[in-house]
């Protein structure tokens, strides 16, 4: 009986967590989309500086990682394809896997590590040092001031980063294709582009927007629910990373299944 009760209570905790995420997301969406028309200007400048941090500063490490991932994918695919003498299909395998799945997912994981954790740490530190309280007593909504610009930055930057990651993955595959499978660079790129449907890219981008929303919501919620004391900031940051990775995978599964079954009909 106790197991059932525990299962029930953890399900409830899980659901209420999803509820808080949704309500934070909805308030941020209101502040981003509706409030600017009610003479409450959006802090575009803050969103731009966030976008700089989330997006542009992420490029070097993301490029390196996805280049390697592309190369790994090519090696793994070639291992199997070689048996059928179809090693030239490597280009297709890498391009499709990158843009449908690994591009968005790897980008999300890198962004969680860089920015999701930073959101939780930044807001958590502000919570501990009463800065969030100070904002509220100044009649400045912490959601509008801190959270909304992050949502905006993430929703714009994550798809951009994903496109970049897809390209870098394909370049990584090209390194293998040129050295091991008699491709020239242009032929490899052409083969990749020919194998891709627009559908492959858009589903990846839709997922990446959803990942961006998830990562921001978790990071900011964990930051805002930080308790008293500096060690709580560390806890929030860890929780933000673990929860984000978990929820990104859940969201990924959900949308992949959705596209799969919707595409079959």
């Amino acid at each position: 009986m106790e197991i059932v009760a525990q299962l029930g209570s953890s399900t409830l905790t899980g659901l209420s967590y999803i509820g808080s995420l949704a309500s934070l997301g909805a308030r941020a969406a209101y502040d981003t989309l509706v409030a600017p028309f009610q003479r409450k200007p959006l802090r575009l400048q803050r969103a731009v500086s966030q976008a700089m941090e989330v997006g542009v500063r992420c490029l070097p490490i993301l490029s390196l990682i996805t280049f390697f991932i592309g190369l790994i994918l090519a090696l793994q695919a070639a291992y199997e394809l070689r048996k059928f003498g179809a090693i030239s299909a490597v280009a297709t395998a890498v391009a499709v896997t990158m843009s449908r799945e690994l591009g968005p997912l790897i980008t999300a994981v890198v962004v969680i590590g860089r920015s999701g954790s930073a959101f939780a740490a930044e807001i958590g530190t502000m919570k501990v040092s009463e800065e969030i309280d100070a904002l509220e007593t100044m009649a400045i909504s912490p959601i509008r001031f801190l959270v909304a610009p992050k949502f905006l930055a993430m929703m714009v930057m994550l798809p951009c980063l994903t496109i970049w990651a897809n390209a870098m993955g394909i370049f990584g595959g090209a390194l293998f294709g040129i050295t091991q499978a008699d491709f020239t660079f242009t032929r490899y790129i052409r083969a990749s582009i020919d194998s891709l449907l627009l559908h492959d890219i858009t589903t990846g981008l839709v997922k990446s927007v959803m990942f961006g929303i998830t990562i921001t919501a978790v990071g900011c919620l964990e930051g805002l629910s930080t308790g008293a004391g500096a060690e709580q900031v560390g806890r929030s940051t860890t929780r933000a990373v673990v929860m984000s990775i978990f929820l990104v995978v859940v969201v990924d599964l959900f949308f992949t299944a959705l596209f799969f079954f919707a595409g079959n009909q």
Partner: protein, 280 residues
């Protein structure tokens, strides 16, 4: 010197109760704050004085009772009404709570930039004026981390003053400061009181500073209002809790063998319940 008048109270508390979860922190507190007076809220650690202050600025929701600030009940106010009240108040937090990612000047200018449509040049003039009022002229381009503890508090006061509030709240203004710097902050509060006739509410446990700045003071103990009066009335009070606080007498140790025995063997009620369940 301040003289009580028949004026409408600026803040009026009636039977205010505040709970954190199931634990009640404030057990029904009632008092009025008159316009232009400096009220000092005294109390030991854990007495509920900080909770009282947080409730007064709308950071905690009362579970019962009412807080009327400028004719508006805080407990029933909507988010928009609450923001309207908050524009009339300024709060200086214990650690300053300055935004580390902004300069001192940007911190002070923030409420002006968020709530007014003033020209940038006007805002800069106001911000220099506010910094000058707290004795921090020329520090607008410093980051908060470059300031000392006392300067941080002054900058926080400047930020609280930015919107020309009618009521100013201080949380532990002299906490963590050396006696000279703390005296400087006290002096600043007295100056603000004289210059602007602002209503000022200060939470502290520093007796010296309390007697220096207060027009009236109240003592909170274990979530109850124990005494309220002028500094002279407090000094001559015979109430045991007031005397204990003012004379800095430690809590009496447990006396009597039976009490001591009970303290050692007593189990908490809910602890008993769990052990009982396990036994079945």
């Amino acid at each position: 010197m301040f003289t009580p008048t028949q004026a409408e109270p600026v803040i009026s508390l009636r039977n205010l109760r505040v709970c954190y979860g199931e634990r009640e922190i404030l057990h029904g507190i009632s008092f009025d704050v008159l316009p232009g007076e400096t009220l000092v809220i005294l109390g030991g650690s854990g007495s509920g004085k900080s909770t009282l202050l947080r409730t007064l600025v709308g950071l905690e929701k009362p579970s019962a009772g009412e807080i009327v600030i400028k004719g508006q009940d805080l407990a029933k106010a909507s988010a928009a009404e609450l923001d309207e009240i908050r524009r009339k108040i300024g709060m200086s937090f214990q650690g300053g709570a300055l935004f580390g990612s902004m300069t001192v000047g940007e911190n002070v200018a923030l409420p002006l930039r968020e709530h007014t449509r003033l020209e940038e040049s006007t805002i800069e003039i106001i911000l220099r004026l506010k910094l000058e009022q707290v004795g921090l002229e020329g520090f607008e381009y410093y980051s908060p981390s470059q300031l000392s503890g006392g300067m941080k508090k002054r900058a926080a006061v400047a930020r609280a003053l930015a919107m020309d509030p009618e009521i100013l709240f201080f949380d532990e203004p002299s906490a963590g400061l050396d006696p000279i710097i703390a005296a400087g902050i006290d002096e600043l509060i007295v100056q603000l009181k004289r210059a602007f006739r602002m209503t000022i509410i200060v939470v502290t446990h520093e007796l010296a500073s309390a007697f220096l700045i207060a027009d009236r003071m109240l003592l909170i103990d274990k979530g109850n209002l124990v005494a309220l009066g002028t500094p002279e009335e407090m000094r001559s009070s015979t109430q045991p809790r007031v005397r204990q606080f003012l004379d800095r007498v430690a809590e009496p140790e447990i006396s009597g063998e039976m009490d001591y025995l009970q303290m050692l063997t007593a189990e908490r009620p809910n602890a008993q319940r769990t052990t009982g369940k396990r036994g079945q």
